[in-house]
């Protein structure tokens, strides 16, 4: 462990140190906030947990999609995605405060609210504390298992280069994507949609799925741009690979707009009293400003920028767009869940809403950097990657 047999960029050490400091400070301040207002701390913590779990699960999505489709873009980032997936057990531990404080977050978990609300009584067979916790355990267990086997077999592939292992990975990814689709949908319904237990939208899970994949893609591009100066990425991060990642990020930006607009159009057209209030809340009381910000910086601007071929082929420029998108993802998630977290009121940002994502994110990135040391940062003995690296690099980068 102390002297790995493969190069680990010094940037990983820097990332680990910075992340630990940020994580420690963020968590410390958030805990201080818990002393003043426990309920607010828990709601901020849920927001942070939703975001970073989304990044980890997004890593799993991209990883399994690449196992199914192939492509050098995914081979170059495979170890980053695997490490991201292996953070799920950490996120399960960080979920504990939420599990212990459900009544302070969700109104369906408060018996006195349910007693006065016939609709919530009808929903009780699904929305009750023990079943909610059981499902959460199942989600984390399923994601951990997927991350575990994807990493383990990929390590086996490094050692043996066996086609059988590669086929097994593809089989796992096929089934795994199905499991992921269902678990993401149900976890989104449980953890975020049930904040307003009267409201429902069938595309909600997909909104989360796409957002998570976009978060993961943006983060991976930022990491890759920082690591590309050192071995082993120096040789592998070529304009061609960066271009592919940029194109995929553009696709996810468009898909995000597509699914969000689909939900909006359907609810706007129907204009029904049980659906429309969700948007009315989010388009008044200051939230409309956030909505406009998300529309401009989550779709319009990145879409126009990412049309440029030159931008998509330059790692540092693409990483700036990706970094900005990553931050806007956070704002988008806030717009999605916070109006309900703050008792259905006007725009108000608690300072723990900032410290909690920084804290959880710091610990998460620290853990990610730790996981990045476990295996060589590029797949070994992969015929596609070897063939790609054997090709002459293009003249100017």
């Amino acid at each position: 462990m102390s002297t790995p047999a493969f190069p680990v960029p010094a940037e990983v050490d820097r990332l680990q140190r910075t992340a630990l400091v940020a994580g420690g400070a963020g968590v410390g301040l958030s805990l201080l906030g818990a002393v003043f207002d426990l309920g607010q701390f828990l709601r901020s913590w849920l927001f942070a947990e939703l975001f970073w779990t989304g990044v980890a699960v997004g890593c799993l999505s991209l990883l399994m999609i690449n196992h199914m489709t192939g492509g050098v873009w995914g081979l170059v980032i495979r170890r980053l995605l695997e490490a991201g997936g292996r953070t799920v057990p950490l996120l399960a531990i960080l979920f504990l405060p939420i599990a212990l404080g459900l009544p302070r977050i969700y109104e369906w978990a408060r018996p006195e609210v349910v007693a006065a609300d016939p609709v919530l009584q009808m929903k009780r067979p699904y929305l009750n504390v023990p079943f909610f916790l059981l499902r959460a355990v199942f989600f984390f267990a399923a994601w951990s298992a997927l991350a575990h086997f994807l990493s383990r077999w990929s390590g086996e592939l490094d050692r043996t280069g066996s086609l059988r292992v590669a086929r097994r990975l593809r089989g796992l990814s096929g089934g795994g994507l199905l499991i992921l689709g269902l678990t993401i949908t149900f976890s989104a319904v449980d953890w975020a949609m049930s904040l307003d237990p009267h409201w429902f939208s069938t595309i909600y899970g997909i909104v989360f799925m796409v957002g998570q994949a976009l978060s993961a893609m943006a983060l991976v591009i930022v990491l890759l741009a920082r690591l590309r100066g050192e071995e082993p990425f120096a040789e592998a991060v070529r304009p061609q690979v960066v271009h592919d990642l940029g194109k995929l990020m553009l696709a996810f930006v468009m898909l995000w707009a597509y699914v969000n607009f689909s939900q909006f159009l359907i609810i706007w057209s129907g204009n029904l009293p049980e659906e429309a209030p969700w948007y009315i809340l989010r388009l008044h009381g200051g939230w409309q400003g956030i909505a406009l910000l998300v529309l401009l910086f989550h779709f319009v601007l990145p879409f126009l920028l990412l049309l440029s071929r030159d931008l998509k082929r330059s790692a540092p420029t693409l990483a700036r767009v990706a970094g900005a998108l990553f931050l806007v993802r956070l704002v988008d998630l806030y717009w999605l869940v916070a109006p309900d977290l703050h008792h259905h009121g006007a725009l108000r940002v608690s300072w723990t809403d900032v410290t909690a994502p920084v804290g959880v994110g710091g610990i998460w990135l620290f853990w990610l950097a730790r996981e990045l040391r476990v295996r060589p940062l590029l797949p070994q003995r992969d015929p596609d990657l070897e063939e790609f690296l054997a090709q002459p690099a293009e003249g100017h980068a």
């Binding site: 607009f261 159009l265 706007w268 057209s269 204009n271 049309l307 002459p392 293009e394 003249g395």
Partner: protein, 178 residues
Amino acid sequence: MTRPGLYGLMAEFSEPAAVVAAARKVHEAGYRKVDAFSPYPVEALTEALALPRSRLPLFVLLGGIAGLAAGYGLEYWASVIEYPMNIGGKPFHSWPAFVPPAFETTILFAALAAVLGMLALNGLPEPYHPVFNVPTFALATKDRFFLCVEATDPHFDLDRTWSFLLSLEPRVVSEVEQ
């Protein structure tokens, strides 16, 4: 020196890396009227030949913008100006409802611009081209890679270009008749 009726010289390679290396050297030697042929896109080849960037993306962008304007304009004209109708109490200018059709016309116009622009820029359909006079050229759609230096290039000299191409170690160099 060239001779009448000669279109150019064609070098034939079996490996993509070889044709990329050859294209780079041909470009460095100052030849500009050069084209390469391969069964599948070789990205490094475009760069090795330093071909000017295609204007097709611009056409597609303009097509998309025109499609967006046309689609949205049509909807606005129909629903707001020409035949306003009260549907579900919604305003005449109901932009959310206008988005899907406007999106579709954006894609339609952009796709048409891509196809027609491609045909306009590459000169297809073209019933006759001299490179097909090289007997093995049909393999360019299968497993061979070709590099053609045209006789109209100011640097072109039948003997010197011939021996220069041979020095790049192709399978064979052949004369291309007009």
